[in-house]
Symmetry: C2
Subunit: 230 residues, 2 copies
DNA sequence: GTAACTTTGCGTATAATTTACGCATTCACC
DNA sequence: GGTGAATGCGTAAATTATACGCAAAGTTAC
């Protein structure tokens, strides 16, 4: 009925950030055996009286001190019995986004080291975290095309060229700048500000801002966010 | 490190079938307290040496004797600490489709009773299974529009009117029969057979068949399955 | 048998959306 | 001032979606 079951439940978080025109992932150095010293995803065991989501949030706070912009359940990894060498662990993985202008996670209590890695310069990860990361990355790529989550990776005020570059660097698809702009502006959830950037060479660019309230409204009116590429 | 954790892991399956022009869900009558006698989803505890997916498949076999056509992980429900009254249980829910021409699940060992319920004549379910079912139904509706899973709910050979009715009855959206047919045929993964149905009044209809191999090919060539409605 | 009705299957005109570009604007740099 | 670089706006062509009309091939009613 209520069997003696010898399986533990953990949570892991795949935290994506974007800076320097590149997608980054947050990793921590594992403190304990059996993966001591290896880079792994943020995570840990669920406490008895704690919801799954609360567990992820706690681990993020404890190990990295950062608060995320977006968080959703990704997938539960439990088909490989030997993910963890010492005992059976089922891990509920969460997918998180931060707008990492404040890139440095201030290492709090738990983590010796937490560090952002560019997606194409990852170290070998412990456990099956390579695989989990792969699944998360796929989710990110998919979601980018049908939900406006790119804005959760950008600072509140951003340039159109930032947004475009974010899409380009993650999806690695050619984008026609003019059509892209037309399409996004057409949705009507971006606010134009009167701030102007002169950081780059060339004509100064306006800063934009994602209006989430407006997006919710439009969504209820039936508009569909969707970005396809030639 | 490896804490004394008092949480059990279960799996549940939401099995959808389609017959009689209606979507159906498979339920079983719970044999044990605390929900004895109540209708619930097929499910049970995961065994120690068993993958999650294997656990679902075993439960389906044991409780209903049927093999599914499509199976994927849906979501892990573990935020409500008191889902189960007696102890904490985290449930990994799976989403399954059968082409229920053989509608009667032959009740094997475990299940007193297993029964198909039309989606709009459901009993009150035990645990939080109402909620889980709701999530599953939403997934079905979404997937129907961007993956050719409708065919997993139909017999191998089917009429276009069946397919149309399936979409109509699940999504409750008006469909223009002629444009719908044109669109689906346009994908190129349906095989026309020379069998003909005279079941209905009116002009006899050809039977069609979903060619999954062809679909995979076309998918790699970049075609996207997508069905939108006016 | 034939008229009425029902469902299937094909086609075409129109509207809407996507794609491919051209080019003026506005700054920095030399 | 000329050159180059990034931004911002617009327009024509191609593609796709929508709204229907209607012939074909059966069944049913009388």
């Amino acid at each position: 009925m209520y069997p003696a079951q010898d399986i533990k439940i953990a949570v892991d978080a795949i935290v994506f950030g974007y800076s320097n025109h590149q997608l980054h992932v947050l990793l921590v150095r594992q403190k304990f055996a059996p993966m001591q010293g290896q880079w792994v995803l943020v995570g840990g065991f669920v406490h008895d009286g704690e919801s799954l989501q609360a567990a992820v949030e706690r681990e993020l706070r404890e190990e990295t001190g950062l608060t995320v912009n977006y968080l959703e359940q990704l997938y539960t990894f439990g088909d490989d019995i030997h993910r963890d060498l010492r005992m059976r662990v089922v891990s509920v993985a969460y997918f998180a986004l931060v707008n990492s202008t404040e890139l440095r996670p201030h290492a709090d209590t738990d983590a010796e080291e937490a560090q952002w890695f560019p997606i194409d310069q990852l170290p070998k990860l412990g456990y099956d975290h390579d695989h989990i990361l792969e699944v998360a990355l796929q989710r990110l790529k998919n979601k980018l095309t049908y939900q406006p989550i790119g804005f959760d990776l950008l600072p509140e005020y951003f340039l159109f060229s930032d947004l475009e570059n974010l899409y380009y660097s993650i999806l690695r698809q050619e984008i026609d700048r003019r059509n892209f702009r037309k399409k996004i502006l057409g949705f009507g959830f971006l606010e134009e500000t009167d701030q102007i950037s002169k950081k780059n060479a060339g004509r100064p660019a306006k800063f934009f801002r994602f209006n989430n309230l407006k997006y919710k409204q439009l969504q209820e009116e039936g508009i569909m966010f969707e970005i396809k590429f030639a």
